[in-house]
Symmetry: C2
Subunit: 252 residues, 2 copies
């Protein structure tokens, strides 16, 4: 049986919770704004989950925005390939988490040669400010530009995976600074999930599950203009299931 | 840059909890038996997680055992390809769950042309007895035969994924019969996890999370030789996260 030429590539959705200017973008309608993630989060928050995209200067799909990635080389496996491709767009040492999420293999997902795309989810913490090449920019996930091929679908899939993992793992460690107040952590969860969460509930459940640990320090009184807030850190900085399903725990 | 010829294939680890004869196999040592999964489960249970393998009649790797799978065709995506390849070994209508779990892309994972393998996890319920071709057989995961290439690694990876998902999803629906006693469900969890679980805890947590629902019926008194046992069913037969992390639930 004859086989069409097939290329294997990686595509990585690198997410960071970021603060965006609260300006109405040209061409954005009131409906767009009402349906955006930030409007369901606390008013005036303007903190959004953002994804790293680069603009294609050449055809195919010139002028559209793409996820970082590219062709798998002979001597490397997919994880190494994803890291190498990412390094062209962002210092990969700033990534706190990188994992395979899905393979997109529709025979017609791109024109020309068949391309099978292994999609990755990458995370960068709130406080990092990676230096980006001129063609590359952070975009709010709630307001994506014209996307190349099926890259919009890949972003949505990776975002859904992130949201699911926020509910049963400690993956938020990779979005948070080393230490943080509960107010900041709520801002991060809200942006990443796309809906608001209650700070008190969040603190209670994450503490009970030992996902976060108080550092013993507080913010300096002047910084937030109010009373000092307790600082926390994530207990672990490797992903783990945090579920309380003790009945199914392995014997220790 | 020159590219070595690359083939994309699927490999599916189809698991079923099955009862095996309690005989010592030729060549099996006491240490092997002591470390096997069944020995950590209730004594005399002999119920084990099994994986579907076929024996290679030809080289390469003649006489070793392989997962069902094969080369991706031009007109199909990976999900369709996995289902098609599986159909040669087992009636795929007996599968209650099939999902992508990982991609194995080590450049040297098989001799000859590079093969990138998309691994799937497939599940068949306890009560199904699929008709198998002559080269195909169920093997206890705790006692795998000589495996082809990296197929043993694929089995372990898929089994770990299954065990993780048992702790935060309702995936056991795909291993269980339509209705079951708690005793049978514990047998299934024990075999799939590789360690024993407490029936009372299991019932409590699965009921609280609404993962299982009593049918209102009981077993007939004579069947188990004791008093009638309550029958349950899984509330849903699509996979979902069952975690109780209410603080992170989307607004309804």
């Amino acid at each position: 049986m004859a086989h069409r030429s097939t290329i294997h590539e990686t595509l990585t959705a690198v997410f960071q919770v970021r603060r965006f200017p609260d300006t109405v973008r040209a061409g954005e309608s009131a409906i767009d704004r009402n349906s955006s993630v930030s409007d369901r989060c606390p008013p005036g928050q303007r903190t959004e989950l953002a994804v790293l995209l680069w603009e294609r200067a050449l055809d195919p799909a010139k002028g559209t925005w793409s996820l970082p990635g590219g062709r798998l080389r002979d001597g490397e496996d997919l994880d190494a390939s994803a890291a190498r491709q990412l390094a062209e767009k962002v210092d990969v040492r700033e990534l706190t988490h990188l994992e395979q999420v899905w393979v997109f293999s529709d025979p017609d997902r791109v024109p020309g040669d068949r391309r099978i795309a292994s999609a990755y989810l990458g995370l960068v913490p709130l406080t990092a400010e990676p230096v980006l090449p001129p063609d590359t920019r952070w975009h709010p996930v709630s307001d994506l530009p014209a996307m190349s091929f099926d890259h919009g679908t890949v972003v949505r899939h990776a975002r859904n995976r992130l949201a699911a993992k926020l509910s049963y793992t400690n993956i938020a460690f990779a979005l948070a600074p080393a230490t943080f107040t509960m107010s900041t952590l709520r801002e991060i969860y809200c942006a990443a999930l796309g809906y608001d969460v209650d700070t008190t509930n969040l603190q209670r459940v994450l503490t009970r599950r030992k996902v976060i640990t108080p550092t013993g320090d507080t913010t300096s009184p002047g910084r937030a203009g109010g009373r000092p807030a307790a600082l926390y850190r994530f207990t672990d900085t490797e992903i783990r299931v945090t579920d309380e399903f003790a009945a199914l725990r392995p014997p220790s």
